[in-house]
């Protein structure tokens, strides 16, 4: 960590042509000129130095600053009615997307404690709404109903541009709306219970004046592109003659004869899988709030979107994680194929009163990843002890928690202990999502001190002095034998699909798995489930 000399090279023979004072001044002057050029470049947004450039910008977002905008890149390929959006506005009154019919509406999801993505989106959408005019509105849907109460929202909208409103609801209502819009979100612990953050889909949806979903903007889309798309959408809006309201359908109802729903069902799981034995964590809500009754008998039936049952109803297990007031109900379901399905839920209380509800769920394709309900691959993950306690060979986390590298999967399997395997690379960010699961595990290990959390680096690397150096490249990394054995590079996911998290029970059976975003509730509930069953 030695500092390098601050000045450019010294003359080899200072006495040869000039005296020492001249050199001092000349070097100073040259240095100043270089500094000024660097500043000018930096001010102009250029990158001085010309060496390796690390940019932290969101990858995969549309860059639309060019004068000509490819409007078609943002338009929905098939125009359909916008999903329902009926929540509560900042005045505490019900608000429906249908209220805005006649002008375009931009809809996006976020949370008011969000310091980065949401304010940036609000700023850009504000520019677009202001420039396009025509009565265009913007609706911010909170995915953090716990903190974004009505009074908070009332405060928040005062800071939003004109034409904006914000809506929230109960946890179940918000989840149902998000599911209908294909929006994912999960609570992410940061180490401070009050300061958790939310992962969420950051797209902005465009609904035209006739209530049709017409376009979506990925995060990073700039205002000129939004304005061009709004022009196109407004010019091609077809007002239906019969004018059915665009958003009056009940959120997740299947068209088949369904019992009258008096429960609202929230799917808490951040990954639900097709192919059998997928645990689905449910929260049940009634008008007065979440139902936290561990004595309820809850049955879950998987239905195709046309209402056809898939298999028999499954009993759900009531789970109340330690230190948490909320009761969740976990049903292990067999969903035949990837795609959209409905879950019909019947909850019967101790005196025999039955209530029903339903929720939509999108089942993911497990590909060749370690199958749910099947034995975990028998393969050892390396531990720090294998390298004489040197963590740099086991994790690329520069501030590692040694507990995550203390146990091998082989040891945990042999001991008959449940464990959580986190397959994630902290430093080799093949995708920007890499490292998030490690951070989550470092938080959860404090709450679950008796459960091994095992972090495995999925990409082969060597250590040069103290620095991990990737084998292959970020675009073509090589999986370790262990990561390969768990199928984390299998199709349709591929080697860039990290992170993956697997929860394995004391019998060595894979009980849950998560790709990408994982909420802390997922792990809390699954480990509690394994706990309760011994």
């Amino acid at each position: 960590m030695a500092r390098r000399p601050a000045s450019p090279g010294q003359p080899s023979d200072p006495a040869a042509m000039f005296d020492g004072a001249f050199w001092l001044v000349a070097v100073l002057a040259a240095g100043m000129v270089v500094l000024m050029v660097v500043r000018l470049l930096a001010d102009a947004g250029g990158v001085p130095g010309g060496g390796a450039v690390a940019s932290a910008g969101a990858s995969g977002t549309a860059s639309a600053s060019a004068p000509s905008v490819d409007v078609s890149a943002y338009l929905e390929p098939v125009v359909t009615a916008a999903p329902p959006l009926e929540l509560t506005g900042p005045d505490g009154q019900p608000m429906s997307l249908a209220d805005f019919q006649g002008a375009p509406v931009l809809v996006f999801f976020g949370y008011t404690h969000c310091p980065d993505v949401c304010p940036a989106t609000i700023g850009t959408v504000g520019l677009a709404v202001d420039a396009f005019g025509e009565g265009t509105r913007a609706v911010f849907v909170s995915v953090d109903p716990e903190r974004d109460t009505i009074p908070w929202l009332a405060e928040f909208v005062r800071f939003m541009p004109g034409g904006f409103t914000a809506v929230t609801g109960t946890a179940a209502e918000v989840r149902a709306v998000a599911d209908d819009w294909g929006v994912r979100y999960a609570r992410v612990e940061t180490g401070d219970a009050e300061a958790y953050s939310m992962s969420h889909t950051a797209d902005v949806f465009v609904v035209d004046g006739a209530g049709q979903l017409r376009a979506r903007f990925p995060f990073g889309t700039e205002a000129p592109a939004m304005i061009a798309v709004l022009r196109e959408v407004a010019a091609t809006t077809v007002t239906p003659t019969a004018a059915p309201a665009p958003s009056v359908a009940p959120t997740t109802a299947a068209p088949s004869p369904m019992p009258v729903a008096d429960l609202t069902i929230e799917v808490v799981s951040s990954s639900v899988w097709s192919g059998g034995a997928s645990p689905v964590i449910l929260a049940l809500h009634e008008a007065t709030g979440r139902i936290n009754d561990p004595t309820l008998t809850v049955a879950v039936q998987v239905l195709a979107v046309d209402g056809t049952p898939a298999g028999a109803p499954v009993a759900a297990v009531a789970i109340q994680p330690r230190g948490i007031a909320d009761v969740s109900y976990v049903a292990t379901v067999d969903i035949p194929s990837p795609g959209t399905w409905n879950l019909a839920v019947t909850a019967t209380d101790a005196d025999g009163t039955a209530r029903t509800g339903a929720a939509g769920v999108v089942a993911r394709d497990p590909g060749g990843t370690a199958a749910l309900g099947a034995p975990a691959p028998i393969i050892d993950t390396p531990t720090a002890a294998d390298f004489g306690g040197d963590l740099t060979w086991v994790t690329t986390d520069p501030a590692p928690d040694p507990r995550l590298s203390a146990t091998s999967t082989g040891d945990a399997l042999a001991a008959g202990r449940p464990f959580v395997l986190v397959v994630d690379s902290y430093s080799f960010k093949v995708t920007p999502a890499c490292g998030k699961a490690v951070v989550m595990a470092k938080q959860l290990v404090h709450r679950w001190t008796d459960v091994p959390f095992i972090h495995h680096e999925p990409y082969r690397y060597t250590v040069v002095t103290t620095e991990p150096v990737l084998e292959g490249s970020l675009t073509d990394p090589r999986l370790t034998e262990t990561a390969d054995a768990w199928g984390t590079g299998s199709q349709p996911w591929g080697v860039g699909s990290m992170p993956w998290v697997f929860v394995v029970d004391g019998d060595g059976i894979v009980r849950a798995k998560y790709q990408g975003v994982m909420g802390s509730a997922d792990v809390d509930v699954m480990l509690s489930l394994l706990d309760q069953r011994g």
Binding site: R3, A21, M36, V38, G51, V53, A56, D116, H200, G496
Partner: protein, 155 residues
């Protein structure tokens, strides 16, 4: 002979120093040594409401031949300043998490920008109006402290 010659050149150098000093007062950073990263384009987005965080963005350049890393930040207007990173997964879901440091490669630069790395100013006690400056002290692993004047901007 030597003395007047040297004095003239010294005077030229002093003028240059004052010109650069004038440039840097608007641009943002102080440069204690050539290995200290330089910061440009620093700005702060004010919080959206009471008890909400503010975000800070900038470009950090490292003209030195050794990598450095931003390891801490502080400002008199906030109770704490954290270093965060927003990431996007394959499904377009964006999330944010604290990071221990931001590496600044030798001869390269790193952008703190919306949707990526950013500073999170927690417990903002006094936010100047848009157009004014917020002073932020950045601490680098090897380069030491750099004081940055960040403009308050909407957006």
């Amino acid at each position: 002979m030597r003395t007047p010659h040297s004095l003239t050149l010294l005077a030229v150098a002093l003028v240059l120093v004052s010109i650069v000093a004038a440039c840097s007062s608007s641009a943002a950073s102080s440069s204690p040594s050539a290995t200290t990263p330089t910061v440009s384009g620093a700005w702060v987005r004010p919080p959206m409401g009471a008890d909400r965080p503010a975000a800070g963005y900038m470009i950090i350049a490292n003209a030195g031949s050794e990598a450095d890393a931003l390891i801490a930040a502080a400002s008199a207007i906030a109770i704490s300043v954290e270093i965060h990173e927003t990431t996007t997964d394959a499904s377009g879901t964006m999330g944010m998490q604290p990071v221990d440091k931001i590496e600044v490669p030798a001869g390269g630069s790193v952008s703190l920008e919306p949707g990526g790395y950013h500073l999170m100013l927690m417990g903002v006690t006094e936010m100047p109006p848009v157009g004014e400056m917020v002073e932020i002290t950045l601490t680098f692993e090897t380069g030491g402290d750099v004081v940055v004047q960040a403009e308050v901007k909407a957006g």
